[in-house]
């Protein structure tokens, strides 16, 4: 037991970060599963983090209320900006949502009396326990798993494959895109709220372009064919820099090379149910023949 305590003392932060990154990866998976390349998730995470932190620090709200607030605020923002932007597709949607992310960052930077500006918020109570993170991840996975198996999940998939054909199947395309966008924002906000109460400090630079690309990389690397991919991708992206620590200065370079190789050879991500299915079929055929 001692060795576990020792391990936990050193690595608890890393393990919990995997969980939080898993939530972030799942948040962008939702929009990707609908065929939308929306890059606003870092901003939604930031909105969630600041809302929750201000609730606990300034309003003395209990942690549960702070978490709920951290989910509600980005959801409302997503509904407002989703109406005009979700009519766009492809690169244009990515540009619009990136622009929104920049607006959020600059707004946080300039609302100094609330957010502390560039200095960020310091001394956020460390309320996040390990079971908060695990519970949140399990809950989100459960909800998304059920969603995938329902008419809504099928509608997402149909919209991703062909939006026009989906609309002629009686699917309200825009409302489903809004749902995916808003639900993704809520999950990103939850991740932000949990993270803020884990790391003690948040600043505007944490929620910028780099973070947005990180979130996207995790999901693309892991694979968007199911729920396992994003979580796996999040774990790898979080752990890789730690595992490569011995390489010192070459660390980020090797990190990048590994990612490039994976994406080159497995463009559909590491976890690809379709490929597994084909493998199984081929092995079966091989045995029969």
């Amino acid at each position: 037991m001692d060795s576990f305590d020792n391990f936990w003392a050193i690595y608890s932060n890393l393990v919990l970060t995997i969980g939080i990154n898993g939530l972030l990866a799942l948040s962008i998976y939702l929009t990707l599963s609908c065929g939308l390349l929306a890059m606003a998730n870092a901003a939604f995470m930031g909105i969630g983090a600041y809302t929750a932190s201000l609730l606990t620090m300034n309003a003395d709200a209990p942690f549960s209320v702070a978490l709920l607030g951290g989910m509600a605020a980005p959801t409302v923002v997503a509904l407002v900006i989703g109406a005009p932007t979700l009519r766009l597709s492809g690169v244009y949607l990515a540009m619009a949502t990136l622009g929104f992310g920049e607006v959020v960052r600059v707004a946080i930077l300039n609302a100094e009396s609330w957010t502390g500006g560039a200095l960020g918020l310091n001394g956020i109570p460390q309320s996040t326990q390990w079971w908060h993170v695990v519970g949140a991840l399990v809950l989100v996975l459960l909800v998304l798993w059920r969603l995938r198996r329902s008419r809504i999940g099928r509608a997402f998939e149909a919209i991703k494959e062909d939006g026009v054909a989906a609309s002629l199947m009686g699917i309200g395309v825009l409302s489903h895109k809004m749902l995916a966008f808003a639900l993704g924002a809520a999950i990103a906000g939850l991740a932000g709220a949990l993270n803020a109460h884990l790391t003690f400090f948040i600043g505007p630079s944490e929620f910028g372009f780099d973070r947005g690309v990180d979130i996207l990389t995790m999901t693309i690397l892991g694979g968007t064919g199911g729920l396992t991919g994003p979580v796996l991708g999040a774990a790898i992206i979080t752990l890789l820099p730690e595992l490569l620590r011995s390489l010192k200065d070459f660390r980020t370079m090797v990190n990048g090379i590994i990612l490039v190789v994976i994406v080159l050879f497995l463009p559909r991500g590491l976890w690809d149910p379709l490929r597994f299915k084909q493998w199984r079929a081929r092995r079966k055929a091989g045995r029969a023949g």
Partner: protein, 260 residues
Amino acid sequence: MLKLSNVSKKFGGLTVLQDVSFEVPAGKVFGLIGPNGAGKTTVFNLITGLVAPTGGGIHFEGQSLPGMKPHQITRLGLGRTFQNIRIFKEMTLLDTVIVGMHAHLNYGVPAFMLSLPGFRKQEQQAREKAHELLSWMGLTHKADDIADNLSYGEQRKLELARALATQPKMLLLDEPVAGMNASEKLELMAEIQQIRKRGYTIFMIEHDMRFVMGLCEEIAVLNFGRIIAQGTPDEIKNNPDVIEAYLGREDDEPMAGVAT
């Protein structure tokens, strides 16, 4: 059942349709023919709400369609297929057909979150119905395959099954036999006859004259955005305007099909 009155459509300065009026009667197989670029697919796009008409009225069972969203029009009972096949490539055939039933599955959020009996029953019924529709099209044995692995003709049939899954009163078929070989055409002809006997009204656009003349009870001819003739296959065959404007210019297979 479906009525177009003085419908026109302009794309910029280009007039694609002008004063197009015709009525598709309930329970029949109605055909819209015309040379390439006559505006046939635009007619379907106007009806299904993908593009808005510049002028004129479109009514389905008394309901005015322009201004409605495509998914709302589908829910009124208009199902359609596409000239350039639009299937969901990475979905299984079974799932593809169940997507067509989207509007008819009405379980709520708690039902699928908790997998309540109502959810399971509806999903089970949807699967059974989807298997039935696939069997109509002769695709039962491929129900769990990915749609992308199907041949061209099979993909067209899958589109048809998916359109039927929306429980349409009227089926709009956009060149259902384009790219099919002779035996596939005959097969599909028989299947469309079967579908018609089940009580669906069918409205099709087609190039293949033998196919159109064999299936349709009434035909409208579109040329350069105008309806130039309407009537039974025999009337159309013998209409001098049609022969001159459309058939007379071609001396290959379509002409031969009409002459017989």
